[in-house]
Each structure stands twice: as C-alpha cells, then as structure tokens.
Amino acid sequence: MLLPIIGILVGIILGLTLPIHIPTAYSPYMSIAVLAALDSVFGGIRASLEQKFEADAFISGFFGNAFLAAGLAYIGDRLDVPIYLAAIFAFGTRLFQNFATIRRHLLNRWRERAR
C-alpha cells in the first residue's frame, strides 16, 4: 500500500522540478486525462484489495481511459457538445464508489485484526 503513495509523491516532485510545459490550449484535455488516471489508480487499488488484480488489464485501462477521455473531450470541443461532462460524471462517480469499497475493505481488515 505504501508503494503507490511513494509513486505519486515522486511523480509530483518530478513534475514540479522538471521543466514540463503543457500548452495552455491542451490544459482542459490534460485535466480530464488526470481524472481518468486518478480513477484508474483507485480502481487498481480496489482490485488488488479484492485479489482480482490483473496488471495487463490495469495498465491498458489506465492509458486507454486517459486517452479516450481526452480524445472525447477534444471531439466534443470541435462539435460544440460538452462530452467532457460525461467523462467527468462517469469518472467522478466511479472514483467515489471505488473509494467507498476501498474504505470498507480496509475497515474490515482492521476489524479482523483487532479481534
């Protein structure tokens, strides 16, 4: 459980120190990709807690979701349809659901250990 947190921290530090600049025009697509990635990470943690984790499905899901979400947002922008709202809604809902499940798993584990 510790490794992913370290990963995020290292990533944030790297991102803040390295001179990476995303053009402002792509900022909204990037934000949706970030949301998709966040969703994937929570999904992965949940799957690993449920002992159902598959690395290939996880990695492909991560990149697939991120690119699909950004792509859909881009197409939506061209067509003047706010498709990105769908992405935000779907990922947002799933994020909270995944978090709830993770919480329950951890609570159960803690209770068992306390017994």
Binding site: G7, G15, I20, H21, I22, S27, M30, G44
Partner: protein
Amino acid sequence: MKKSLSAQLSITFVSLILGLALAAQFKNVQRVGGSVSLQRTQELTRQVQKLEQENDALEARIKEYEERIKEFENAIQSEGQSNKLIYEELERTRMLAGLVDLQGPGVVVTVNVKYVNEWGEDAIVQNVRYDDLLKLVNELNAAGAEAIAINDERIIATTEIRNAGNYIVINTNRYSAPFEIKAIGNPDTLEAALKLLGGVADDLGVYLQINIKRVDNIRIPKYKGTFQYKFAKPVQDTNAKS
C-alpha cells in the same frame, strides 16, 4: 505473493505517471490562473467578436450617413439664396448641438489629484469625483462658455458625467485623472468666474490641483457619438395645449 508484488509495482508505475500529470497540470493552472474555465473564455471571445462586428457595422453606417448629409448640404448650397439661409441656420444648429469642431479664445482648466506627505509616504488626498467636474462645467456655462470639452469629450445636452468604479464616464467613455477641461468663451470672464473668492477653484483647490490657463486659440472637437430618439417626437400641432 508474487502476484501482489507485480500489482503493487504496476500501480506504483501508474501513480508515478499520475503524479507527473497532476504536477504538470497544477503548474499550468497556476501559471494561467485556471479560475477562468475554457467555456467562459470561449463565451467571452464569442461576445467580443460579435460586438466588434456590430461596432464595425455601426461605424460603416455612421460614415454612410455623414456622406449623405454632406451631399445634401452641397446640393442646398448650390441652389438659390433662400436655401443658403437654411444652410446657415443648419450650420448654426450643428454648432449648438456640438456637431462641429470649434476654435476660439478661452481657458484650459487642468484638474489633478493632490498628494500629501503622510508619514513619509505620498498619499492622494482625494480622487477626482464626478461632481467636481460638474461644478466646474456648471460654472463655465454660467460664465458664458460657448463650447466645453473634458479630455476632448464634447459636453452636449445629453452628456453624462458620472462615477463608474474608479473612473468617470463622460459620453460613455471612461476617464481618470488628470482631466483637462477646455472652454471657449471670453477668457477674462471665464477665469474670473472660476477664481472668485470662495468660488469653485477655491473650493476644489482644498483637495485637488486646479490649474487655470488662458489660451488664445483652443480647438474643441465635435461630439463623436450618435443621436437616437426612440421616445421623443417633435410636437406637430403647435396650438394644442400640453
């Protein structure tokens, strides 16, 4: 156990990328000031474009009308004597309405904020308020000014002088200090009217820098806006009682 380790590793790898993306996005939002959403910018851009188009169209129409007025005037001038009188009357009316550039002797009044040294720092005593300008314009009119302009905004019958935030709006354009009031009229009378003991210049001089200068030849530009009468109509029956 092996499976769990590979799971941990792949999640770690993905979180690393997520962290990178988060940080990059964070930096981006901070740099741009992300509180303005893309939608809002698009909406505002669209509004600006629309208004610019409208503006262009209106300017073209003003030009068209001005040309037509000139045509009429030329036609009238080239016709007989009675028409010449009408033309002269028209020119006089246009002068009254503030639709021609005028020049002549008068005064130039500059109004600026006064600074006072307060604990070693220069501070503004008071901002120029709309009523300061109104008082000056009022006094100049009372002294027989024939044409007045503030910062080259001709003062006409419908001119407003009012506060809007830190600005003063004159003929729908925003200005802030310093203000330059030009007035055509008898320079002696105008200057004396302003410099009366206990008069406007005295009053405003307490908290503003007022500078009155006589000038032999001032140019006052014409009113640059347009007139639109939506509600008012000329009375047709002059005998009817209101």
